[in-house]
Symmetry: C2
Subunit: 226 residues, 2 copies
C-alpha cells in the first residue's frame, strides 16, 4: 500500500522537512490529488509533529495511528482539542502559525503536504478551494460539538466521548481506545480519576462493558446518550 509515497523508517524531528515532493496533478486536481502532493513520515509515540506558534508550512493527514492536537495553558493545564484518526486531516489552522501543538498518541504514519502548494492550487482550482473550505468547516463543527460537551456533567462527557469514538470506529458497538486516560481527561476537561470513576459507574449501570482498560463494549446506547 501507499506506493506513491516513501515511508521514512527513521522517525524525523518535527522541524525536518519531508524529503520528497511529488509534482502536482496539474489541472484535474481535486480532493484526492492533495494526497499525491505529500510525503509519508513516521512518528513515534509521544513525538511532537509540530508545536504551537510554529509556522504552519504543512498540512497533515493521518495514514495510521492517532494524533492529538492540544494547547498548554499558562498554569500548566493541557487542553486536548481533538484526536485525529486514520483518514483525518489536521494542521489546517488558518493564519501562518499553528494555534495548537500536535503529537503522535501512538506510533503513527502521517502524510505531510506542503501548505503553499495546496493554497496555490486552490487559487486556480475552485474544487480544491471548496475542499479546503469544507475541511475547515468540518473542523468547526467538531469544535462546536466539543464545546457543547464541556458544559455537561462528568458522566455525560465520558458517555459522549464513548459514543463519539464508537461512531468513528469500524465496529460502532465497541471501541479500542488508542489513548491513555490522561488524554481522555484532558480532552474532556476532567481529571484522570473522574474519568476512571465514570467508566466504572457506566459499567456498573450496564451501559458499557470494560473487558480491558483500553477496550469498551457498548451495551446500552440510550443510557449513554440520555
Amino acid at each position: 500500500m501507499l506506493p506513491q509515497t516513501s515511508t521514512g523508517t527513521i522517525a524525523p524531528k518535527s522541524s525536518s522537512r519531508p524529503s520528497a515532493k511529488r509534482p502536482s496533478a496539474k489541472s484535474e486536481a481535486h480532493l484526492d490529488s492533495l494526497e499525491l502532493m505529500g510525503a509519508a513520515m513516521a512518528f513515534a509515540r509521544n513525538q511532537e509533529i509540530y508545536g504551537e506558534d510554529e509556522p504552519a508550512d504543512y498540512l497533515y493527514k493521518v495514514i495510521s495511528g492517532t494524533v492529538r492536537t492540544y494547547k498548554i495553558l499558562s498554569d500548566g493545564r493541557r487542553q486536548i482539542a481533538a484526536f485525529h484518526l486514520p483518514g483525518d486531516m489536521f494542521g489546517l489552522a488558518v493564519g501562518d502559525h499553528h494555534a495548537f501543538s500536535a503529537e503522535a498518541v501512538t506510533d503513527s504514519n502521517i502524510l505531510v503536504i506542503k501548505r503553499s502548494a495546496v493554497v496555490a492550487l486552490a487559487g486556480r482550482n475552485t474544487d480544491v478551494a471548496r475542499e479546503l473550505w469544507m475541511l475547515t468547516a468540518r473542523e468547526l463543527q467538531r469544535m462546536q460539538r466539543h464545546m457543547i460537551l464541556l458544559i455537561k456533567s462528568a458522566q455525560e462527557r465520558v458517555a459522549a466521548f464513548i459514543l463519539e469514538m464508537a461512531e468513528r470506529s469500524q465496529d460502532h458497538r465497541a471501541v479500542e481506545l488508542s489513548m491513555p486516560r490522561q488524554d481522555i481527561a484532558d480532552y474532556l476537561g476532567l481529571t484522570i480519576e473522574t474519568v476512571s470513576r465514570m467508566l466504572t459507574h457506566l459499567a456498573e449501570n450496564a451501559a458499557i462493558e470494560l473487558p480491558s482498560s483500553r477496550r469498551i463494549v457498548l451495551r446500552n446506547r440510550s443510557a449513554l446518550s440520555g
Copy 2:
C-alpha cells in the same frame, strides 16, 4: 447611511425572506461586494433570526445591535456559542442547515444575504472563495478560544469574558454590556449567580469597577489575564 439597502420598519418573522435582492457586482466582486447583495432587516430584542435545523439559505451581517447564536440541549440548558457585534458575520454554518439558533439580544439591524448567490460567486471568483474560507476560519479560531475558556475556573471565565468584550469594543478600557447576566452565564457555562459573584469579587479586588450593572471599567488588566 446604508443607501444601498432598505431597512424594514416592521420587524419581520424570521422565516420571511428579504424583500429586495440586488444584482451582484459582476466580476470585480470581492469581500465588500457581498454587502451589496443583501437587504437590511430590523429585529426586535429577543426576536428569532433563524432556528436550529432551519435551512441555511442566508448569511447575515450585523449592522447595529447584538446577536447571540445558541443551542438548547435536551435537558433545557442553553449554550450560547457566540455574541455577534456590529461588523460581524454569522450564519456561515456549512451544510445546508444551521447548527445553531440566532436571536437578537437587543433591537438590531441585520444585513441578510442570499447564500446561494455568495456560493455561486465564490465558484467564479477566488477572492470571494478565499474570503468565505477566512470567515469560517476566524469563526473556528473564536470557537477554539471559547473552548479553552470552558475548562477554566469561574473567576477566570468571567475575567476572560471581560477582556474579550473589551478587545471588541471601541474603548478597550471599558465595556458596555449589551446582554443580560443570563446570557453571559450561558456563554460561560456558569449560573447567573456565579457570574454576579465573580464580578463582585473582581470589583472588590480592584480589577474592575462596576459603575452600573451593565458597565465595566477595567482597572487592573494583569489581574484579569492572570
